[in-house]
């Protein structure tokens, strides 16, 4: 199956490298970063292009734009891994629509478009008879969408609880284990590369809220929005609060929670028993689903990382390859 890969940040590089390294029946025929593009219907020489990017800051021909690749390259599935814009979703929404309009499958790790325009994009994919998949938008390598779609098919999902932001989980783990203040733990997270220079999206719970919206819409299809989430961050937590929780055999974690029956859609720091399966250490993510038949299912795994996220994207691509016989 032929792939056009848009975006060459950490995730895009991971996807390119794994497709090149592993014999998966996937060929990259289009490649674009923010400054240039390259295409070849017979398959691009990825190692050379990546080396070129390392040396010169761009991978291909500066005269070929991302939209040129999407509209002109010969491919079956678009992998859209450009940076997230949580407010407008652009330019990614435009990229995805352009590919769907050409009846090409789309796989994305981009939370903006899926949180903001899920319904519209899904409808468009359906009308064009192609797939739109976004396993990588939530909880990195954890195959939550596949689990919901296949493993738990036929179950009613009654509730979901998740640790969906690795940065917050790292900060809380360090505050609990070492008695660090929030500021100290945040500084450490930055040094380790787990927190952005501007950590607002993570620590205020916005990133976790966006993922909760994506999950909730995927499961229940109620078309909820970011503004529907009752959201509290972790930036006002004190080491004393963690100690007070610890005295009772508990700790504090940022939990995303959705219970449609009770109208709950919430991201907030919560007191939770240390032995609870959602209490995972460091940057790990975890998700508990409550279902009518399977009862509770908890998935734990890496929520971020180049190759980890590539795992989710490649899982989506191979699903499409099997399902649609490799052609768009």
């Amino acid at each position: 199956m032929k792939i056009a890969l848009i975006g060459l940040g950490s995730v895009g590089r991971g996807v390119a490298e794994m497709i090149t390294k592993k014999d998966l029946g996937l060929t990259i025929t289009g490649l674009a970063d923010s400054k240039s593009g390259a295409m070849d219907p017979k398959g691009l020489d990825i190692p050379t292009l990546l080396t070129h990017k390392k040396k010169n800051g761009h991978c291909g021909d500066p005269d070929i734009s991302t939209l040129d690749i999407i509209k002109k390259a010969d491919y079956d599935a678009l992998v859209e891994v450009t940076p997230t814009n949580a407010l407008s979703g652009e330019p990614a929404i435009g990229y995805i629509k352009a590919a769907l309009a050409r009846k090409k499958h789309v796989v994305t790790s981009n939370k903006g478009p899926i949180a903001l325009a899920n319904k519209e994009l899904r409808t468009m994919a359906q009308e064009n008879g192609v797939a739109l998949r976004y396993e990588a938008t939530v909880a990195g390598a954890i195959p939550i969408m596949h689990t919901l779609e296949h493993g738990l098919a036929g179950n009613d999902i009654l509730a979901l609880y998740g640790v969906l932001n690795g940065t917050c989980n790292y900060i809380l783990t360090r505050m609990a284990d070492e008695g660090l203040t929030y500021e100290q733990a945040l500084m450490e997270a930055r040094e380790m590369g787990y927190a952005e220079a501007d950590p607002t999206y993570d620590v205020k719970g916005i990133d976790a809220s966006i993922k909760l919206v994506i999950l909730a819409n995927n499961i229940w299809g109620h078309d909820v929005r970011l503004t529907d989430v009752d959201c509290t961050g972790i930036d006002l937590l004190t080491p004393d609060a963690l100690r007070l929780a610890d005295d009772e055999g508990c700790t504090i974690r940022l939990i995303a929670e959705a219970i449609p029956r009770k109208n709950i859609l919430r991201v907030s720091p919560r007191i939770i028993e240390k032995s609870h399966p959602l209490v995972v250490d460091g940057t790990l993510n975890a998700l508990t689903l409550e279902t009518d038949m399977a009862k509770e299912i908890t998935l734990i795994g890496r929520g971020a990382g180049s190759v980890e996220t590539a795992s989710a994207i490649i899982g989506d691509l191979l699903y499409i390859k099997d399902r649609y016989d490799g052609s768009a």
Binding site: L236, L237, D240, A241, L244, I271, I272, E290
Partner: protein, 163 residues
């Protein structure tokens, strides 16, 4: 609760079994065979702790055992939840915050642990709230949410899974 059952071997054990079946905890069993009391009927008083909402189920199970319930006594505060409050707790009148729960009559703050760092810094406290029913607890937590918002306190609730 006060029970009445046949005074024959095995009857008492049969009457106690449903309590553990519904997850209850027996605190005391008092039974007295009074002189000249009824023929073959045993009166038993049991003090027990039950998980919230299990009383009705227990009543049904006891009836199935042929046990007659004479009286169900006072229900005590059995539902417990622990929350943490962070903020300027003293400046915002902590005793008033506690009193807003206590004055409901259906819930009370049964424990308070507190840490107070430097005077101007935010303090943290852990409150244990008790109530009779789950609904009362929800109402108490709702009050606490409202008060926290008014006083700009951060309320950290426990994760209560329930599907």
């Amino acid at each position: 609760m006060k029970l009445e059952m046949k005074d024959s071997p095995g009857q008492l054990v049969a009457a106690l079994k449903p309590i553990s079946d519904v997850g209850g905890n027996i605190i005391a069993v008092i039974h007295q065979r009074e002189q000249g009391s009824d023929h073959g009927i045993l009166d038993v008083q049991i003090v027990l702790e039950l998980p919230d909402g299990q009383l009705e189920k227990l009543v049904v199970l006891l009836k199935e055992q042929g046990v007659h319930i004479q009286r169900i006594g006072e229900q005590r505060l059995l539902y417990k939840r622990t929350v943490i409050l962070i903020g300027h707790l003293m400046h915002t009148d902590l005793s008033d915050t506690v009193d807003q729960i206590d004055s409901t009559g259906y819930a009370e703050v049964s424990e308070l642990a507190m840490s107070m760092p430097a005077v101007k810094e935010r303090s943290s406290s852990r409150l244990t709230i008790k109530s009779v029913t789950r609904e009362d607890m929800e109402s108490a937590i709702a009050i606490l949410r409202r008060v926290s918002q008014q006083k700009s306190l951060l309320l950290i609730e426990p994760l209560e899974e329930s599907a």
